[in-house]
């Protein structure tokens, strides 16, 4: 009950922190989406998949690095504040997006690509009309994973003075105030779930029904 009374008594403060959190997330994540897809596409171009495979192994391994380590490293080189935090979150979100984009594009059926080429599509048309549309499930799953991880990690980024909902948790820790810790954690989780649902809805609308049926088979 102390949890709810804390929440209701501090609505303006909580809204402010939620906004900060969302802001950290949106900037770092959307930059990561653009950059990640771009790197994923570039690394699988040029007919040889070698670079793509290298990118896959690097990004695959990087996913094992703990988020706190990334934030700590960025803190050492860039100091405190929202900017280093955004940068750390960007780097951390980049990994699953790049990994999934590259793996989605690499696993695009060679038959479809041969048919597309044989029918007279240009390389660009093959990318935009065949490879990317059929890789949407893989890319979307990377984008959603990145979003959830990003929102969770953004809470830790409060450690280096980035603000956000993490601040409530860290204040709670200092004061040994369990309801604050819970309130912060609850809000972070809620935000992550909402964003994930929203992204799932977007994924549904842009993904072809044919792909869905193909997965079911």
């Amino acid at each position: 009950m102390a949890l709810f009374s804390y929440l209701f008594e501090n609505i303006p403060y909580i809204l402010e922190k939620t906004w900060e959190h969302l802001y950290l997330f949106l900037i770092s994540w959307s930059l990561a989406v653009i950059t990640g897809i771009f790197i994923g596409v570039l690394s699988t171009r040029g007919g040889n998949e070698k670079i793509g495979r290298i990118v896959l192994s690097i990004t695959g391994a990087t996913q094992a690095v703990p988020s706190t380590a990334v934030i700590a490293l960025v803190f050492i080189f860039m100091g405190i504040g929202a900017l280093p935090a955004t940068f750390a979150l960007f780097i951390y979100s980049l990994v699953p997006i790049t990994f999934n984009t590259a793996s989605g594009l690499i696993s695009c059926s060679p038959d479809m690509k041969e048919a597309a080429l044989g029918m007279g599509m240009t390389k660009r048309q093959i990318l935009f009309k065949v490879e990317l549309p059929t890789s949407i499930p893989a890319i979307a799953s990377g984008v959603r994973t990145a979003a959830v991880i990003n929102i969770g990690t953004a809470a830790i980024a409060s450690m280096i003075g980035a603000g956000g909902l993490g601040e409530i948790i860290f204040i709670g820790l200092k004061l040994m105030d369990v309801s604050k810790i819970f309130a912060g954690a609850l809000l972070v989780a809620l935000l992550a779930i909402l964003i994930d649902i929203l992204l799932a809805l977007i994924e549904r609308t842009i993904m072809s029904k044919g792909l869905l049926m193909n997965q079911e088979n």
Partner: protein
């Protein structure tokens, strides 16, 4: 469109491996040419050099006399239909969008595309109303293959390249697709270059057969000539030991049946006795019996007529018989003869009107005309 190859060569590993070696030939316009040979003989390489999916090492490919180098590869491919074994339908597009790919690349107006898609779906025997907005995942293997063929025909190309388009289909559906494909080619008359490793498919579909080995031509001739006169032991081995029977399979009855025969007209010859008398006068052991408008009723034999009540009406004692039609092949005629035990088989039209007979002795003549190949 006439496609000619001039000393066409493709080498790999800095010239150490010749996939295609100095190939020179002309593909006949509006004909279906099958490229066949053991795997690694270079047949697919030839096919893919024609739409530049593989770049040649030397020599030239001419389209109506124009070198392939003078044509932009993207434009070239949009003018050549292409169908492959694994079809490669776009799983994220419905049937309509799959067929519409090349017309859209060529920026046809949507209205024209829609009527073209419907026309093609009817051509490959798929109801547009039922299948147009289905996704590949909702289609059977045979249906996908039909869409693959329709897609390759979409922009009305003069030339179509097909790389084992029916290879991944079960034998029963493959036969059906081949039959349907023969009808389609009958209607559209395209220059088709078709790669397969199935000799039965080659004989069934091809106007001309190009047999390849080690990147070279072994024999290039009309299908009938290849089957009748295999150039050497290699061709003979590709054709297989049942070459003669395969030959019969590709010869239509219409070229070999005789209209010179004596049926019994049941309207005039009414009783068993009359039929016997007629047969003995003509020195025949059996005859086909026809009714009004020359409709085939069946046959009767001297041996059986003798054992019957001579006053009986003939029409009640006629034995039914399976017949062939002019477009049937000689193999079917042989099978009918084996079934009936007679030395001929009746040939009828679609209304079951008796046109003539195909005789066993004719078949023997055809079979013995095949040249023996020294092995």
């Amino acid at each position: 469109m006439q496609i000619s190859l001039e000393n066409l060569t493709k080498t790999y590993n800095k010239g150490s491996f010749k996939a295609v070696d100095q190939l020179s030939l002309t593909f006949e316009p509006k004909k279906l040419t099958v490229l066949i040979g053991p795997s690694g003989c270079g047949k697919t390489t030839v096919l893919k050099m024609i739409n530049r999916l593989i770049e040649r090492t030397s020599g030239d490919i001419l389209f109506d006399g124009k070198s392939i180098d003078q044509i932009d590869p993207i434009q070239l491919r949009r003018q050549i239909g292409y169908a492959i074994q694994n079809i490669g339908l776009f799983i994220h597009m419905n049937v309509f969008d799959n067929i519409a790919v090349v017309p859209r690349l060529l920026k046809w107006p949507e209205k024209k595309i829609k009527s073209r898609v419907e026309e093609l779906m009817e051509l490959v025997n798929l109801d547009p109303q039922v299948h147009m907005y289905k996704y590949p995942a909702q289609l059977s293997g045979g249906q996908k293959q039909r869409i693959g063929v329709a897609r390759s025909l979409a922009a009305n190309p003069k030339v179509i390249l097909m790389d084992e388009p029916f290879g991944a289909i079960d034998p029963i559906n493959r036969e059906k697709l081949q039959d349907a494909f023969i009808d389609i080619q009958e209607k559209i008359k395209k220059t088709i270059i078709f790669v397969t490793h199935d000799i039965r498919e080659a004989i069934k579909l091809a106007d001309k057969i190009l047999i390849m080995d080690n990147g070279r031509i072994v024999q290039y001739d009309d299908t009938v000539n290849v089957v009748k006169k295999p150039k050497n032991a290699f061709v003979d081995s590709i054709l297989g030991s049942d070459r003669v029977l395969k030959g019969l399979e590709m010869m239509p009855v219409k070229d070999h049946y005789s209209g010179n025969f004596l049926p019994i007209n049941a309207q005039e010859v009414k009783t068993i006795a009359m039929a016997l008398e007629y047969l003995e006068k003509k020195k025949k052991t059996y005859a086909y019996v026809i009714g009004p408008r020359d409709i085939l009723l069946g046959y009767c034999t001297v041996e059986e007529l003798k054992r019957m009540d001579q006053k009986d009406e003939l029409i009640g004692q006629v034995k039914p018989i399976e017949s062939v039609q002019p477009h049937s092949n000689l193999m079917e005629a042989i099978i009918r003869m084996v079934e009936s035990g007679l030395t001929s088989c009746p040939v009828v039209d679609a209304h079951h009107q008796l046109l003539g007979v195909i005789r066993f002795e004719t078949l023997v003549e055809i079979m013995s005309a095949y040249e023996r190949v020294e092995v």
